[in-house]
Amino acid sequence: MFTNRSLLFYLQSLIAVFSMAIIGLILVPDLGEQVSAHMLKVTIAPFPSISLLIFLLFVFNKIIRDLDDKIYSLRDIVIGSVIVFLVSVLIFVGTGLALSFMQSIDKKVFLFSIFLGLIVFCLFRISNLYTMAIITGMSEGIILYIIFRY
């Protein structure tokens, strides 16, 4: 049922989700106090992205799954690598901005659920080389931010 490429895709998206959860939700100095102080806001924070995700899943009803075993050409590989580099630089800069501007936990939960919705949308609707490159860039950028800046 699963091809090699679909297994690698799922593993990559799992790593991206875990790295985002670590940087946004676990490495917080006072997690328990913040959650207990903003209980209502934390509960309502994921709902915009859930509704947006349901809307997008109904609008884009065409499924693009390009995960079978074929040999990519050089042009595809170069475009994918450029996408990985650009997205990881963007996430590396944007994580610092987001962590400096958004100190409270509810806004972090909102951002986290937005990216989670993006990954779920890629899993259900568009899964090919370029979305794989986007997810790789996200997880790699967050890991580089943890290593170099945190």
């Binding site: 690698l8 990559q12 040999i71 994918g80 790789t136 790699e140 943890i146 290593i147």
Partner: protein
């Protein structure tokens, strides 16, 4: 001969790596420090998964080394040359650009990146010169961090 050669190179690579991982952890064990070390050890894994995603459709992934053309002197020359070059480069990097290089977690990340390229080389390219160059880089980084600072 080649199998024992690569095995010895792997042992040479792994021993200093584990040594200065423990050195970084033993400074002060806090939660964020442990997270940083774990992230730097497993940092290149998304890149490795992406490369595997690209190259998974190739046939004959594991190639054989052509054992008749191994020249031991040339590969040890590559090894020592890359060791010397990486030590000199890291010395000038820490002196002029990145001040807290050997106290940070970045050498572990570079070392695990080298390990990832090593596995990549074994699976797809399989050239002795590349193995020697990568081993020299890793040994140079470890020796610089452990002995020269």
């Amino acid at each position: 001969m080649s199998k024992s050669f690569t095995r010895g190179l792997v042992i040479i690579l792994l021993v200093p790596y584990s040594l200065f991982l423990f050195e970084f952890v033993a400074k002060d064990v806090t939660f964020s420090n442990v997270i940083k070390v774990v992230a730097s050890v497993f940092g290149p894994i998304p890149l490795a998964i992406f490369l595997a995603y690209i190259f998974v459709a190739k046939e004959n992934i594991i190639k054989e080394i052509d054992e008749t053309f191994i020249s031991v002197f040339a590969s040890f020359g590559y090894l020592f040359f890359m060791l010397l070059m990486s030590v000199v480069f890291l010395y000038f990097l820490e002196a002029f650009i990145y001040k807290g290089f050997s106290e940070s977690v970045v050498p572990i990340f570079i070392n695990s990146l080298v390990l990832m390229m090593y596995i990549m080389n074994i699976l797809y390219v399989k050239s002795i010169q590349m193995i020697a160059i990568l081993s020299g880089m890793s040994m140079g980084i470890s020796m610089y961090v452990l002995f020269l600072t």
